[in-house]
Symmetry: C2
Subunit: 541 residues, 2 copies
């Protein structure tokens, strides 16, 4: 497949956006016409799973095309080990300018870089610090402040627009507007219904959209891949006017939970039920106050995506730009008596994924929905194939979606896998687990979802009989066979090569008999044997 | 534990030395008094297993303290990925000069280095090319020639001694002496009984010993760790006089094999039975010709170790030098109808391991034998502890032997693990396996040895009932429970973190509640909730 020199990808990621909070994914009240229009013109994936239900590991998986166990960033802010290749490291050699606009949650492996003599200010060091992306605009939001990073372009722009602050997130964009114009705390969920203190055009979502358009202006005719990474609808749940009151409690879809889930729950679930954030989101008034704002933030993203699509049309790039829309994980919002996103129920680990491939070959699937099990690590190989490259399968563990998009195949894999490391969560103490053993893995075959919990019995859900995942069958003797089968699939996956990254499968294909070619003749009694090897070209080993 | 500034380690490794070809390991005819004297003054490990039965992966495991699946070098000459830390990278920060004298089989990840902007000629680049060792003297033997490397110091020394050749291995040290003084081929096993064309003092074993003594002279009073890595008794099976005829066919221990092994063997074994080298070593006349020479090469090593021990005594370093003796894997030599070392029978995967720790704390175990399951990856953490360092458990997967040496513990682990990647072996074609799936793993609990073969049934041996491993129980329904149990142990191991190398366990221990400390308050309805978090220091998550 060739796209000529000017093929582009606009790769949009939201943060903490559940799969079911979009019009095209069936939300009854939330209208997202622009995102829906992508689904109409592209393929919508109905069973897309992230490789970890938290930002850092999920994103590092998306950017490297590798599972958390392979890239090693198993939780937020764990540095990505030096040498791991990011999206730009794979796409740049194909002539593609690969840039970041927004959030990545990337933390560089400074110790590793120092050990290898790589200066942070060197070209390689700078790319490494951004997971291989050219730094167009990074905006990690609160994390940026928490980690004591340098002032951002966003901050400078806000100041240029008259906002007198060096912390525009907390003082304006994420601050509910007080009765006297003052900033309220971003952390008071009780204030979520108030508008943000910043105007819509000055919030992160609008800002990142502006910056993305500026990038596309800047990029000109050279092929580009822009990762536009919105930090919303992630908390703080604060939306600017008019989005703060576009939805109300009547628009909130019913909570998905059952008292059954509280009766003798799996020990790890019991621990997470106890979290403050789980307790709070289990209260109806919290959901009714917060979820409409969450929806408003999504609506705002949709409108901003409208601006992007407009720009692409007007600039003549729409016909040569693949558009990808996804999220890094979901949000429990009180479902299953949980808040945040640490476990493997669909509302946490299943994400929206829409791919609009402009190639004529993709015409066959426009407007269709795929129920293939796909993973976020499939995006990078998709991009490589889109740009005409060869996927280095010894490094990248995902599989290109191009075959699905072009209807040359209907399925990529038998099981989807996700991982979670709870070593920095309070549950570790409650369960008295050593930090090295706080590990869980999900294996989902499209019907049964097994959650392996190191040190405990597994959880099991049958999504055919129980699509809401309310009945944990992990201790049910009748399910023993399913558990054995999925555990075997987990073993097969775990035993794959994850680190044999320096030798390609193609190299290996031709490597048999290397000794003889190097003049090393094993198992020869005399010259007759050696002659036979030379004649036959078969070293016999 | 502190040893003062001048504690040393002499870490001796042989290549392809079986565990049972030493006096102290019970060989009836082969006398190895110098190595035996180490066992008398130290601890002899009776169940030491390498992490792969071939040189490259086994050595990279020993040097990194990590399993092949973690460091990624799953076969010979697969480059060790950039960023993996070698022995010297761990010991140098402890003030220890860590040098190589002999073979490593290390191949640098040039592509990775180039990508990261690391010049091969930089200090970091040079260390990386030697797996973290200071290059004192590298001698990879034939591999050096095969890989087209630069002339070695050995070559220069040979030329200075009047050997007119640029290939002293093939023309002298490994060339059987012909009737007219000419060099015969190193590959004619039929000529193995002839002496090498080089004098003993000019063979690799003597040369590496000389160079090791030169290093110890050079090192002075600074703490050092010298990896003296003999390339013998690895093939070519050619010994210098008088070692070439020190043993005869009468000294060869009986072959360990049974016709039972040829009846319906496991498919992977059937493939390896077909190898030329397996066929050849299954012939009695080959064993009778070759094994006495293999024994002679070991005897030569023992005598050279005598020279080293003499030097240490005379130089006054004996009391402050830990001496470690081991091998990188064994040699089938016709046992089980196999040659070379690709499978997991004890003669391939079990190695001799002797540790002579000079510390008074080790007095309690001098001359004793440990039957603890130990792995070659345990050496690096042992060395770190010996020098007073802290083992970075997020990187190093082995466990220090110091506790065993000082009798503070009797056991390190429940199972020993080893891995093998046969993607570049002919068996891959015979079995029609994709290169990514040519994987096997051994799990040995001290009695049962399970070999998991991806795509096939497992093999199982009960070493209590069948110490010679002649009866494969892998298809025996009566053994189902054992297989399930060991497969579960394999899963537990495979699911461990292998790549979470950038965050230490100690860091994680204190990381819970990091959000609140960074001013991020999740799940708070109002200021009262935030105040409570601040008061209690408990983020509730």
């Amino acid at each position: 497949m060739t796209h000529g020199r000017s093929s582009n990808i606009l790769f949009i990621m939201c943060d903490q956006l559940r799969h079911d909070y979009l019009g095209c994914y069936g939300h009854p009240a939330l209208k997202t016409p622009h995102i829906d229009s992508l689904a109409e013109r592209g393929m919508r994936f109905d069973r897309a799973y992230v490789q970890s239900p938290v930002c850092g590991p999920s994103r590092m998986s998306t950017y490297t095309g590798r599972y958390p166990r392979s890239h090693g960033t198993t939780w937020n802010s764990f540095p990505l080990r030096v040498g791991e290749m990011g999206m730009g490291d794979h796409l740049r050699p194909l002539g593609v300018r690969t840039a970041l606009c927004g959030k990545t949650h990337m933390v560089a492996d400074r110790k590793g870089m120092e050990r290898l003599g790589i200066a942070p200010s060197s070209p390689e060091g700078r790319l490494m610090a951004e997971c291989g992306f050219e730094l167009w605009d990074r905006l990690d939001g609160l994390h940026q402040r928490a980690s004591g990073k340098q002032p951002t372009h966003y901050q400078a722009r806000m100041q240029a627009r008259g906002y007198r602050t060096d912390n525009p997130w907390e003082d304006y964009a994420n601050a509910p507007l007080g009765d006297h114009g003052e900033a309220l705390s971003p952390w008071h969920l009780s204030q979520a219904h108030r508008p943000a203190r910043a105007a819509e055009r000055d919030t992160e979502t609008a800002y990142s959209t502006d910056r993305a358009i500026e990038f596309m202006e800047d990029a000109g005719d050279r092929p580009w891949c822009l990762h536009l990474s919105y930090i919303k609808p992630h908390w703080p749940y604060v939306a600017p006017a008019p989005y703060h009151r576009m939805y109300g409690a009547r628009d909130v879809i019913p909570v998905v939970r059952s008292d059954m889930e509280l009766r003798d729950p799996h020990p790890i679930l019991r621990e997470f039920h106890r979290n403050r954030v789980s307790q709070v989101f289990s209260r109806p008034e919290v959901r009714d106050r917060v979820i409409p704002v969450y929806m408003g933030l999504i609506k705002q993203i949709d409108d901003n995506i409208g601006r992007l699509l407009d720009y692409l049309r007007k600039s003549g790039q729409a016909q040569r730009t693949m558009i990808v829309f996804t999220s890094d994980h979901g949000d429990y919002l009180g479902d299953h008596w949980l808040g945040e996103k640490d476990m493997f129920h669909d509302c946490a680990v299943r994400v929206p994924l829409i791919v609009m491939d402009p190639s004529p070959a993709a015409d066959a699937t426009r407007g269709t929905v795929s129920d293939a099990l796909v993973e976020c690590i499939d995006l990078l190989p998709t991009f490589i194939e889109y740009y005409g490259g060869t996927v280095p399968t010894q490094i990248i563990e995902g599989k290109s979606l191009i075959g699905l998009l072009h209807r040359s195949r209907a399925k990529l894999r038998e099981v989807a896998i996700s991982e979670y490391d709870y070593s920095v969560r309070k549950a570790r103490v409650g369960l008295e687990m050593p930090v090295a053993d706080c590990r869980m893995q999900m294996v989902f075959d499209g019907r049964f979802k097994l959650v392996n919990v190191v040190g405990f019995r597994p959880m099991l859900f049958d999504l055919a009989e129980d699509p809401d995942e309310l009945r944990d069958l992990g201790a049910d003797p009748a399910c023993r066979e399913v558990i054995v089968r999925l555990t075997r699939a987990l073993l097969d996956w775990a035993l794959r090569h994850h680190c044999r990254v320096t030798v390609s499968d193609a190299d290996l294909q031709d490597a048999i008999g290397g000794e003889a070619r190097a003049g090393i003749y094993l198992g020869c009694w005399d010259q007759g044997d050696i002659d036979q090897i030379i004649r036959s070209g078969d070293s016999g080993y």
